[in-house]
Every structure is written in structure tokens, then in C-alpha cells.
Symmetry: C2
Subunit: 379 residues, 2 copies
Amino acid sequence: MGNIFGRLEGSEPSAGVVLTGSHCDAIPLAGMYDGTLGVIGAIEALAALQQAGFKPVRPIEVMMFTSEEPTRFALSCSGSRAMAGALTPAELEAKTDAGGLHFLQASGAGYAGAPPASVANQVGYGAASTGEMLEAVRVAPEAVAYFVELHIEQGPFLEREGTDIGVVTAIAAPAALEVHFTGDGGHAGGQLMPIRNDAGLAGAELALAVERHVLGTGSGDTVGTTGTFEVSPGAINSVPREARLAIDIRDTDGPRRDSVVEGVLASAADIAHRRKVRVASRIINQDPPATCHASIVEAVAASAKQLGLSTKHMVSRAYHDSLFMARVAPTGMIFIPCRNGWSHRPDEFSSPEDIANGVNVLALTLAHLSGGSWPKVEL
Amino acid sequence: MGNIFGRLEGSEPSAGVVLTGSHCDAIPLAGMYDGTLGVIGAIEALAALQQAGFKPVRPIEVMMFTSEEPTRFALSCSGSRAMAGALTPAELEAKTDAGGLHFLQASGAGYAGAPPASVANQVGYGAASTGEMLEAVRVAPEAVAYFVELHIEQGPFLEREGTDIGVVTAIAAPAALEVHFTGDGGHAGGQLMPIRNDAGLAGAELALAVERHVLGTGSGDTVGTTGTFEVSPGAINSVPREARLAIDIRDTDGPRRDSVVEGVLASAADIAHRRKVRVASRIINQDPPATCHASIVEAVAASAKQLGLSTKHMVSRAYHDSLFMARVAPTGMIFIPCRNGWSHRPDEFSSPEDIANGVNVLALTLAHLSGGSWPKVEL
Ligand SMILES: [Mn+2]
Ligand SMILES: [Mn+2]
Ligand SMILES: [Mn+2]
Ligand SMILES: [Mn+2]
């Protein structure tokens, strides 16, 4: 799959590892911190442990996940889904980017331009088939004792309250929908209003309905976004024939999130009926929320306390590879403040001080979870 | 400019010409008839006149206009605007396509990749500057005695009423707006609803407001279309930072059209204020309607009558190169039915019989306007 690992050996090499890491891929117009912090920060944490002479019992591994962001292949958390066994060969083989390149071709196996039929049998990484490759990527039972991810908050609360470290207790439940409206198009001058069935206006209504359903929950924790809105043919003098929307809905509460998903799908059908356009709606994913493991929550809180840092227990509204790692290993996350809560934008920022705090808490947490010994301090 | 001409000499070569033609460029996902009919049909009409042995007095010229559709350079009717003197060097030099190629580079002068600064002085077509080139393209006083354009109706009326030929009396007034909303974007999970300023939702509201303003006129002749709707960054997990809309508004009544334009601009400002996004609105063009010249209206009607075809006097709701030619010469148009009124879509269709009718009416109209003699019929 292209997940990349590094290892700091422990005194018990066969023990389940303490794993940490995140992703380095980014959406277009992104910032420098989402994901990357958790990879570079993990490498720094291990370096700090080594410099301090720490000797782990369980091996500690750093990793970088493949394609956490869903932008290129419309699939989030590709690497961690595969590690959790939540990805089938058929799903993966069907994934192409906007240029028609298959995931398995783009993954560096060297088959750019190869016909899709041959992809399934040429997956690289030494595997004979996609199924065999995915099987090799899965986390074996007990192989990962703990997974910890360091990440920027991507929300405003730590900064607003002047708190140093967020101790994540749960990860909100994400869902993604794709809605495709199709009308008959026509000439923007010649096609009079009563005979139009404008797919673009159906899309506009649905984008506003997403917002209305989310606000209708009355919950401050529910969010819904129409992040992709494409009309075709996309000419000023042509009535839109097609509109393609990609909609993201998340909540800390699974059933409440599901009620919004149902509301949006019902609105899509209703709008299509009223505007006489055809509609095809598809749920891309609708994952359950994840709970962080008590042993890691405690280790993170204790590490922060040991360093004199203030903490806040909180829920992650963004999803992460941790959402899937939680299915196969005890999982936890460490958040640091990010300016104004801004993320997924070029002015995303976390201060060097906050980054150092996060890396220090991660290092101590890994040491706690690994077990091991610090060098004797000369008094 | 790339306008292309062919000439059937008349017995008075220095007399103002009878000019006919249209365009062959098309929007994406277009049909085969819009524009092309008026070029190929004009060549056929001249061939028919020659075969019939007709000897014109005024020269008859066929032409193909450059870039009637505004899709590539966001400028409609480039060739006819230039002929009407309605295009400045600065406007033309500023036009680039999505790939950053300048109009003057793309026009075949062979400067692909040349730096923009050099474009103004290398316009090809033997001119030393864009200004000199545009001056050479302008129709000289009295040079064009009449302009006639054959076109598909792009509306349903001729077919619905079983009428053979539309005699166009006026061309509706088109306007084009560009509206650009900018918000702050953010992460689709982390950015809670109350602190969002989603540019995509501002765009969705405006697209629906365009429809509302148009329907609010109570007039069946007013149309408004949001044909282009682009959100950025366009990722499912990112709140849209930007939305760019291109809006087309047309009416047979200029002032009523202008009131819709004003309403849409006011809505854009109001939506931006309510949703706390920035807005930049720009009128790309807002052209007056054109009236067809009585002498051509009469010649078309007489020609159709002579051929035993039924006629309907009507207004063109689509615009055409005729809109600009009407500024420099007496102008008229001939419409033929098109299936279901569909245009600007791949299933655009006019029957071979209707095309033959249109070409025959055009041929006779050109003969009427040119003056001249038919061969003596042997009885
Ligand atoms: Mn992200
Ligand atoms: Mn991330
Ligand atoms: Mn057209
Ligand atoms: Mn046309």
C-alpha cells in the first residue's frame, strides 16, 4: 500500500509494538501541519528518546500512512483502512484519479498507462494480487500493542482556552455522499424558463439543504459541507445539464449524524422530483465513531502533567487514520493548538512552542507505553 | 482576427457587398448545427445561385466569424465585435484562455509560449500592432450593404407551430455577469457551523436568486442562467473558500433585462453581507438589443413566400454575430426549426428538409438584395 515504517528496537523485539505516525499527503490549498506534524513529530520524539538514552522494552515504530486525504482517489485513509482490513481488492482496484490513473498504478509500482485489466495482477510490493497485497498490509493480531497519533486540533478550542494539550477521547463519525443531478441542458438564450430542468439549480438547492439539515439538529457538534460542486458543460451560455456534489457530514453522535445523512438523501430526491431532473445518490462511506483507549488517554494526560502542561479532554471532529487503527489496536491521539482553529487552508499554523510541547508529550507517552528504562541520573 | 471570407463577384465590384455567414466554433458538449448551418448553408446557397446561372449586381460574400461562442476567452462574438469596431486593443490583449494562452497567440500567429509583453507587437495577419489589426478588420463605411445570417431557431416555436421559416425582426439583449465570492475556507470536520463563511453556499444562494429575479419579471421572454459555477479548493473535506459564477441574462426588452441585472448584483451584495464573504461582481457585457432592417425582413418573407413556405415573424432570444453586424450594416436573420427547441447540447438537430428550406430562402434573399439577373427560361 505504500505505508512507510521506521523502528526503534526494544529489548523484547517480538512484543507488540508501540506505533505512532500520521500522513504527509494534503488537500489542494492546504497548510503545512495537518498530518505532517504527526510524522515529523514522531521522528523527533524517537530522536529525543534516543538522545536521552531511553531503552524501550516494546519496539517503537514510526509510520507514514498512504493517502489519508480523500482528494485524489475519493477514498480517505487508504493506508489505515488497509491496515484495519477495511478495504477490499475490488474497492481498491476500482479507484481512479481524475486522469483515469488507477490507485495501484499511481502507487509507484511502475505501471503508468497499463490497461486496468492488468492492474489487479501487477500490484507491486512483491505481491501477486491485490488481495494478497492487502492481506500482507493488515495488522496481525497483537502485532500493534498501542497506536498514538500527534495532530493539530483543526478547531479553535485549545487556543481559545489557552490549553497546551488536547487529550483525545473519541473521534467523530464521518460520512461522505456523492449526489449527481442530470437535466436536459439547453441554450441559455433559447430555452425559456418554464421548460428548463437545470441540474445546477438542483445542486444549489441541495447545498443549502445540507446546511439546513445540519443546523436543524440544534447541535453545535454536527457539521455538513458541500466541498465539491461541479456543473457541466460549465459554459456561461448553456443551461447546466449535470451537477455533481460531494457532501461531508460529521458528528460526535453516530445516530444524529445518520439522521442528517437521511435528511440530505431525502432532500436530493425531493429536489429532483420538483425540478424534474434525474438524481443518483451514493453513500461513499459512513463510518462509526471511535473511542480512544483508556490506557493511552491516561498515558497522554500523565505525560503532559509530568511536563507541567495544561490539558483538556476532547473529541476530534476531524477524522484521522486513528479512526481505523482503533479497530485493530488500542488507539489514542494528542492534539496541539492551531491558530484560529484554521486548517485545510494555506494559513494553517501552530507555533514552534506548541509543536515542541506536542512532541515532548508524544515522546513521554511512547516511553510510558513501551516500558523501558531511563539512564541513571548522575547526582 | 481570423474572420474568413469568400466572394462571388458582382457586375458592380465596387458596390457595397451582400454579406452572409455565421460561426463554426462551439461550446463543449454542443451540437452540429448552431453556427455551422449558417456557414455551410451560405456556401451552398451561393453554389445554388451559381448553378442556376444567377448574375449578381452587388458582390455576394460568405464569411465565417471567429469565436462567436464565449467559452474559450470569455468573450462572445469576437470576430463580429471587431468588425463593428466594438473591441479595443486593450480588451483583446487582456484575453487569455484557461491555460494562460493569449487570444492573439492562440489565433494562429505562431507565438505559442511567447511572453505576453511581446504579444501586442506580434499580432500576425501582417499588422504591426493590435490596434492596426483591429482597424483593418473594421467594416469600412458603405462596404457592407446588407448582412444576413441563417441559423437554427434554438427555441421550440417553429417546430411546435409547424412553421417552415422564422423571419427574425429583433435580437434579444444579452448581458453577462461574473460574480466571485471569497470566504475563509477551513476543515470540513473541525470548522464548526457558526464560524463558517462558506463561499460555495453564497454561490448557491445567488444561482437561486438569479432564477427568482427572472421569474419575478412575470415575463416569459426573460431568461437567466448560471452556466458556470466553480468552487475552490473543491475537496470534499474542505469548506469552499471561493465560488466563481458566470451568469447570463437576456430579454427582448432592454430595460427589463437591466432591472434583472441590477437585482442580481444587489442580491450578490446582500448574500455576501449576510454570509460574511467578500464579493467581486463584474459586468462582462450588457449589449443593447438589435432591430433587423425592414428591407431584409421583407426580402426574407418574400423569398419564403415565393418558395411556398410558411413564415413567422419572431425575436431571437439567442444572440448572434448579427447583433454586432447590425451596428454597421442593415442586418437580418433567417431561422429554421430545431427539434424540441434543443440547442447547445449533443442532440441538437434540424432535419435535412428544414435545412434545404433555409438554404433556398437564403439564396433567394441574397439574390433579391444583390440585384441581378436570372437566365432566361426556355419555354
Ligand atoms: Mn486533513
Ligand atoms: Mn490529518
Ligand atoms: Mn451558440
Ligand atoms: Mn450560433
